[in-house]
Every structure is written in C-alpha cells, then in structure tokens.
Amino acid sequence: MAITSIKNLKEFSTNNDRFEGAHTLCPGCAHSMIVRELMNCTDDNLVISANTGCLEVSTAVYPFTSWDTSWIHIGFENAATSVTAAQVMHSVRKKKGTLKDNDAPVKFVAFGGDGSTFDIGFQWLSGAMERGHDFTYICLDNENYANTGGQRSSATPIGATTSTAQAGTHSYGKKEKKKDIVAIMAAHGAPYVAQLAPNKWKSMAKGFQKALETEGPCFINTVSPCCTEWKFDPKDTIGITDLATDSLMFPIYEIIDGHELNILYRPKNLLKVEDYLGAQGRYKHLFKPENKHVIEKIQSDIDKNWEMLQRREEARI
C-alpha cells in the first residue's frame, strides 16, 4: 500500500484532497476530521460506502458530492455489505482482466454512525466481518441518532439525556450502559480492531493505516464529539475529545487477531469523569444531588474497564 507520510500535521492535512470541505455537516462536527484523516493516510484508490446518517446526508446532496472517489450509499444498515460485495466484484474482475486499470491499488472502506453500527446495521456488519472480506469499517461514534435529532442509541452512555431517553423529575436519562462494540468486533476474530480519537491524530492515522494494510475485515470505533447533541460550543470539539481520552471515558487501544490488546494512549494527568461530563449539556442533570450516584457509577465503570484493558494488555492473550 502506498502509505502517506504522517510526520507533520500541516503537510498531512493537505495531502490527497479527496474530501471536499463544502459539505453541510454542523460546524464543529468531528466526522469530517476523521473522514479526512482516513482519506489522507493512503495514496491508494478508495471505494467508500456509507450508511444513512449525518455523514451521508451532508456530503451527497444532489447535484453535489463531497467525494472525489468512488462512493456508494444504499440504506441505513448495509454499508458493510455494499462495499464488501464491491470488493468481491473487484477480485473477480481483476482475475478476469475486465477492470479499466487492472493494476490500480484500491482499498474498500465503510463508514457508519453509531446508530447504524451498533443498532440498525449491526447484523450486516457482523455478517461482513464473519465472511472475512478485505475491508475496513469505521464507526463515527457520536453516541446518539444525531441525524434525526438526538435519539438514544445503544452507544449512548448511561446518564446522558436524549430525546427518547430523557432526564426529568423522575429520570436521570439513559439507564443502560453503552454496548461494547470493540469487544464484540474483536470476538469476530477480526485481525485488527481499535478505538481511536481525532485529538490523537497521529495514533488515529497510524491505526487507519494499519487497518488498511491488514488483510481481512478490520473495525475501528472513533469517538466523534457532537456539539449539537452533546451540547458544547463548536469551537471546543477537540478540547472535549481531550477530556474524553484523558478521563478514559474513551480509552485508545487496539486488539490484534481478537486477543492481543495494546493500549495506545496513557493519560499523564488522569482526569476525573466529572471534568468530561461537566463540559457537556447532555450530562448537566447528573450534577444534581439526587443523581450523584450516576456519576459515581460512570467513574466506577471507567475504572473497572481501564483495569480490565491493562490486565489484558499485560496478559498478551
């Protein structure tokens, strides 16, 4: 694979401009940063699919497109299926010699939000991972159905308020814990699975490159802070992401071949989760005295998860 140099952010950010800035994502949305990093980290041709969601509705509104590469969107649930079937067709046509350019290097990538990845498209993703196609699936995890106005998803953390899991006089918001999608994908035996964040741009770019270089189905969950539904100032996107990674709400790690876990980022100054929660409107109600136990629960879950990740890393199994 033609790897792009990732020494310098300024140079990296202007490489391979295949994703147009003229899209209609919200100002401050992290989606475009993540997509741009993926597209800049390789010089290979790309066939990209997207599930229905914020990214899709904001980048391909006829007669415009933000994608200077092959791109397909079918429905809410099937980006993993469409891009892997395209990959199968590529292998058949390469064998038969019917491609326009038989030697052109190409990578197949699917994007989905957490709604399509964790929920409505979960079966299609699982099927594609099980079949072992050579592709990379990237989840843009903003922890809610942002495109339809902020409903709960199974990626929404406990305690967050959403329009369908509301905080109120008798409720502290969502009652259920976030689904551990990274563990589920690793359990498929995928050769490369990771959780990455756009504030750690270099580790994210390296993770993307690793996924693209690895033969077989790779999965990456990326945290994509949503200023609109998380309720923070659009200029603070990367700052919020810093709080997410430094409080370990979003630990950055990879799992190779379903078992070899490597932590990719260890915060020097570990923050309490209050710092992360307090910076967002969606958690505001948790700071009322009656909801204090929810913050304690979130902190305790983070601590246990970090302990588990470290022990798995040490064990090398």
């Binding site: 469409s82 892997t84 079937a85 067709m89 058949v92 326009k100 299609w124 099927g127």
Partner: protein, 411 residues
C-alpha cells in the same frame, strides 16, 4: 478459464435448475444470496458451478435477503454481471433495497420463484411476492414453465444491461409447480448463449478510478420528482427494447416471446387473462371447450407484468365479449391489482368487454382444468346476457360458502 459443462440438446430440468444454467451460461460474475424455499436450488447450483470451476465467478452467502440485494447493488455498481434468487418472505425482506437497485439504475437480474406471503406461513406458490414488487421500478417478466425460466433469464441480462434500459429485471416462475417439476428443456450451447447475452459494458463503474462516481445521493423536493419520472420513462421506453431482445432470441432458438401472449384469440369471445402456470391450464381448458361445446374460448397471458403492456393487453382483448381476469394474490380489501390494470386498459376501448375478477390459487391451491372451464362458462353466460350475471369479484376454488363482491350497473 471455466471448465466445460456438457449439455445435451434436450435436458430434463426443473425451473430452478434451468434458471441456474442460464446464470452459468451468462457467466455471472457475482451472486450474493440467502437461501429460501422454493428458490434455494438456483443459488446452490451457482455455488456448485463456482466450486467445480464451471464458472469464473464468486458466490457470496450472506446473512439475510436484505443483505443479499444490498450486496447485489454493491457488486453491480462495481461494474460486473450480478444475479440472485429469492421467494416470498425473502422477497419481502429485500423490498427496501429493491427500490434502491432500480433507483440507482443497476442491471441486476433477480430470479423470483413465486411463493405466498405469511401469515399464515406457506411455502407454496402464489403471486403475493410478485405483486409486492410491482411499484419497485423493476422490469418483471413471467415464465410459465422451466424452458421459459431458462430463456427469460438469458433475455433478462440482455435487457437489463442495454444502455438504453439500465434497469434491474425480475424473472418470475411459480414455486414448486415450475421450480420443482422436471420438464424437457432445450438449452442453447454455451457459445450461442454468451454470444446472445454479450459482455457487460458497465455504466458508471465504481472501479474505474479515472472517473469517480457517487451512488445513492439524496434528493428532496427539488429533484426527487425528476429522478422518479426519468425512472418511469426508462421503464416505459424499455418496451421496444424488450421486444427486440425477444425477436433476436427467436431468431436463434425459434422460441418467440411477446410482452402479451395470445392463445386462440383470433375469434375468442370469452377469455381468461392470467400469468404463470395458470396459463397452460387455461389453454388446455379453452381447447377442450372449443372441441366439446363449441365455446369460442381464448387465453391472454401477461408475459411482462412491468412495464405493464397497457396497449398490447387492450389490443389483445378488445374483440372479446367477456373477460375473466385472474389474480393469484390476496387483494387486501380491493379488486385484484391485475383486474384493475386490465380493466383500465379496456375502459379506453369502444367495445368495453364485460370484465370480472377471480381470486384463486392462494398458497398453492391447485387451479384445475375444470375450474378454468367453469370460469369460461360463466363468461359465456355474461356474454349471452349482455351483462355480468355474477358478482364482479369472486373467490374461486375456496372451501365453504361463496365469497364474492360488487354487482354491475350495466344491463
């Protein structure tokens, strides 16, 4: 290079095997599928052709029919020849993506082995799944026996991939009655078949990196209407191209298809309109009634359900006196869809034959020659009286008391 498959001039194949041989001869690049009775053998056979080197393609077994059609869309957008098969609930699960396939103008060929829709669960043949697809923007053609399932599948690729058509095509056959009944089939040679179908020349190939394409964009009130209108126009404009492909096929095989088939219609006064295996039954009944009772009975069969052959149906039927339109699908609180469409065509004629509607054969209930004869005789009674003498809609072959609706205001 694919291993040579030995064929006899005459084979004994069922409808499923016949369709799968068409897929092999058309050298389909990718089949993405999920099995469902009674269509399963079509994709199983394709898989065995891949496994034994009879075809240089790939068989992708996915986790649902929705994924199967989603995969067909991705593979087709990637520029190769694509096909799959399904039935019934599988067809229903595909419904969302059927509309996406036609909206993206992808030349996918779907073999539909018709089966009833639950509930109650039923694996036998009726046309409920076919009717579910009727507004999906696909070309829909009906095979009435195994030979036709083979012939029409070959024609389907040539029609779908024509640059003036660029629409997906369904080839329907009746579950079990056609799909699982072994009959004589005369295949083309592999060379003749691929020469007829030709190589695919993809439009908007996702794997042509010199010209990036965006598939599946969004349009709202500013452009959606224009896109759907263009799609409708493409369907309407496909009619002469379908005719040309049928003509070319006839030159090679002697087997001539028409979007509307007419049998004994030169002087027919009473007619059954239908499709599927019903047509052969009705044809036998018509012959017998002509011989036994001198009733001038004829049969009109809809070969091409979509685009609906409005003018051809009208031309075929306007000389008739009484017409029974048969719908093998539960009408769900209305007249049968087929009845409505045929009636609309006949309303624009001077003669306006008497038209009645028969709901029959649901869930694989047998449609017999005697039943067809009874329907013809009822039409004769209408014709003699000069008006409809029964309910306009009747359930035929139903157990228990008569079920019928609506009376005529004419006569």
């Amino acid at each position: 290079m694919a291993v040579k498959y030995d064929l006899n001039e005459r084979e004994v194949w069922d409808g499923n095997f016949a369709a799968s041989q068409a897929l092999r001869q058309a050298q389909v690049d990718v089949v993405v599928a999920y099995p469902i009775t009674p269509s399963t053998p079509i994709v199983e056979n394709y898989g065995s052709y891949v496994a034994n080197g009879y075809i240089d393609g790939e068989f992708v077994m996915v986790e649902s029919e929705h994924a199967a059609m989603s995969g067909c869309i991705g593979a087709s957008a990637a520029g190769g020849r694509v096909s799959t098969a399904t039935s019934s609930q599988g067809f229903a699960l595909m419904a969302e993506v059927l509309y996406q396939a036609s909206g993206m103008r992808l030349p996918i060929v779907l073999n539909v082995v018709n089966r009833a829709l639950a509930s109650p669960l039923n694996v036998r043949g009726d046309h409920a799944d076919m009717y579910l697809g009727r507004d999906s923007g696909w070309i829909q053609m009906g095979a009435f026996n195994a030979q036709e399932a083979y012939d029409l599948a070959l024609c389907a690729f040539k029609i779908a991939e024509n640059h003036d058509v660029r629409l997906p095509v369904m080839v329907h056959q009746d579950g079990f009655i056609t799909s699982h009944t072994a009959q004589n089939v005369y295949p083309m040679t592999d060379e003749a078949a691929i020469n007829f179908v030709g190589e695919i020349d993809p439009v908007d190939d996702m794997l042509d990196f010199s010209r990036p394409v965006t598939y599946g964009a969004q349009t709202e009130e500013d452009w959606h209407f224009e896109h759907k209108a263009k799609q409708h126009k493409a369907l309407m404009d496909s009619r002469p191209i379908i005719d040309e492909v049928y003509e070319e096929f006839a030159k090679l095989t002697g087997r001539k298809y028409n979007r509307v088939e007419s049998y004994n219609m030169e002087d027919a006064e009473v007619v059954i309109v239908g499709l599927g295996t019903t047509v052969e039954t009705a044809r036998v009944a018509a012959e017998q009634l002509r011989e036994e009772e001198g009733i001038k009975a004829g049969v009109v069969a809809i070969r091409c359900f979509r685009p609906f052959p409005f003018e051809d149906v009208r031309d075929a039927l306007e000389g008739a006196k009484a017409v029974a339109v048969t719908d093998r699908s539960s009408p769900g609180g209305a007249m049968g869809a087929f009845f409505n469409e045929v009636s609309a065509a006949l309303y624009t004629t001077e003669s306006r034959p008497l038209v009645t509607n028969f709901i029959y054969g649901l869930g694989g209930r047998d449609f017999s020659i005697d039943e067809a004869k009874r329907i013809f005789k009822e039409q004769k009674a209408h014709a003699d009286a000069g008006h409809i003498t029964t309910d306009i809609q009747q359930f035929s072959g139903l157990r228990g008391p008569h079920l019928g609706y609506f009376q005529t205001k004419r006569g």
